[in-house]
């Protein structure tokens, strides 16, 4: 949960968390190689700027969460918007933060799950932020879960059954 994962931000800089979605223009056959380049560049560049976050990439869409100094993120977003490997770059959420949810920058998911495509497509098509609040939160939650080490089957099955309070 939030409390356990959050990491304090240092200094008095204005910190921001942002989530954008976009449509991929990568050829699915060559996407794997391109994504490797993106991951390599992003890990190096974002680490140097103190930017944390996570990237989801499918054959059709991108979704990326970014956290860090607002100025650095703004500058990064300008570069991202100019990147020819995607289009319809849409910032679906942006807010000032005091705590990070992501310890570093990670490639959270690479695949073509319908579940992910459906949610990103819905975010790109939404008209107001109130329509997307739950969906944005769900994408953040999934990114955090994707970035976590996978529990073994034993650990997973050992979780107690959840009984939801009425």
């Amino acid at each position: 949960m939030w409390v356990a994962r959050a990491t304090p931000l240092g200094g008095a800089l204005k910190m921001q968390r942002l989530l954008y979605c976009s449509r991929s223009l990568l050829d699915p056959k060559q996407a794997a190689g391109e994504i490797s380049v993106i991951v390599s560049e992003s890990t190096r560049r974002n680490g140097a700027r103190g930017i944390s976050g996570a990237l989801i990439s499918t054959n059709r869409f991108f979704a990326q969460a970014l956290e860090g100094d607002a100025g650095c993120i703004d500058q990064l977003m300008q570069n991202i918007c100019r990147d020819p490997r995607h289009q319809q770059v849409t910032v679906v959420h942006s807010d000032n933060i005091n705590m990070r949810r992501f310890a570093g920058w990670e490639m959270a998911y690479r695949g073509d799950a319908d579940y992910i495509n459906t949610r990103i497509k819905a975010l790109l098509g939404a008209r107001t932020s109130s329509d997307t609040a739950d969906a944005v939160q769900h994408i953040y939650d999934l990114m955090v879960e994707f970035a976590k080490p996978q529990p073994s089957l034993t650990q997973f099955s050992a979780l107690p059954n959840v009984v939801v309070s009425p």
Binding site: M1, V3, Y109, D141, F146, Q150, F156, S165, P166
Partner: protein
């Protein structure tokens, strides 16, 4: 070293007022014992004390949290221990260095030491003061036979320096114990906060936050592993009020 003192003893020996000795294994030490310095290895200091003062035995005596005197190091076991503890109690509560050199008294056989009387003809001690100015132990040296001379001024100064080292070690141990205690309390508070955040205060049942977190985990894993999972919700009434269920999943509810 020869005689009854066991250099290889593991753990501390706690002496009760009755002078019965009891072994305390390291794993059974309480946090307050550890904060008192019990469990620390003082043998290097004791070795130096023996060499500098040219005596047979050296021991660090500590006051435990429950006001018992605990022997450490080379005086942990054996028939000399009770005599060392007896003198240690005296040295701890003395205002400064103390020494006795009974040149005219023959040493008693070990069997007579259980009455608490001094076994050693020569014994000297330096109190170890805590940060609050309260005595927390003493560094003591012993000889079964009397020494030709009492400890010189320079030998006493050396002993005082070693006693200061004992104090430093204990102070560091207390700081570590304090930090560990604070960390433990913070972890407990974090766990409690998480429990409160994830459970209904009235029924103590998991709430929406916990069910959402578990569901997110299951969804994420099924996507990554390309596997399926089942969510079983048991209850009465409509299913459209189910908390925290992502919309794509709601359509699959039967």
């Amino acid at each position: 070293m020869k005689g009854a003192l066991n250099q290889n003893a593991v753990g501390a020996v706690r002496t009760r007022p009755s002078l019965n000795l009891m072994k305390v294994e390291q794993s059974t030490l309480t946090p307050s014992d550890q904060a008192s310095g019990i469990g620390l290895n003082f043998e290097p200091i004791e070795l130096l004390a023996r060499q500098l003062c040219n005596v047979e035995f050296a021991a660090v005596c500590l006051v435990s949290d429950d006001n018992h005197v605990v022997l450490s190091g080379s005086a942990r076991e054996g028939s000399h221990a009770s005599a060392a503890e007896t003198f240690g109690s005296t040295a701890i509560h003395h205002s400064g260095p103390i020494q006795f050199n009974e040149v005219n008294r023959a040493p008693r056989p070990p069997s007579t030491s259980f009455d608490g009387a001094p076994l050693f003809c020569f014994r000297a001690g330096i109190p170890v003061m805590g940060t609050k100015g309260v005595p927390i132990g003493a560094l003591c040296v012993f000889n079964v036979q009397p020494r030709a001379k009492s400890l010189s001024k320079s030998e006493l100064q050396s002993l005082q320096i070693l006693a200061a080292q004992v104090e430093t070690l204990i102070t560091q141990q207390q700081a570590i114990a304090d930090s560990e205690g604070r960390l433990m309390r913070l972890e407990e508070q974090a766990e409690e906060l998480l429990r409160v955040a994830e459970h209904d205060p009235l029924t103590a049942l998991p709430n929406r936050a916990l069910s959402s977190a578990r569901l997110n985990r299951a969804v994420a894993r099924s996507i990554q592993d390309q596997t399926r999972f089942a969510l079983i919700i048991k209850g009465e009434g409509k299913t459209d009020h189910i908390c925290g269920l992502p919309e794509p999943l709601r359509s699959g509810v039967r």
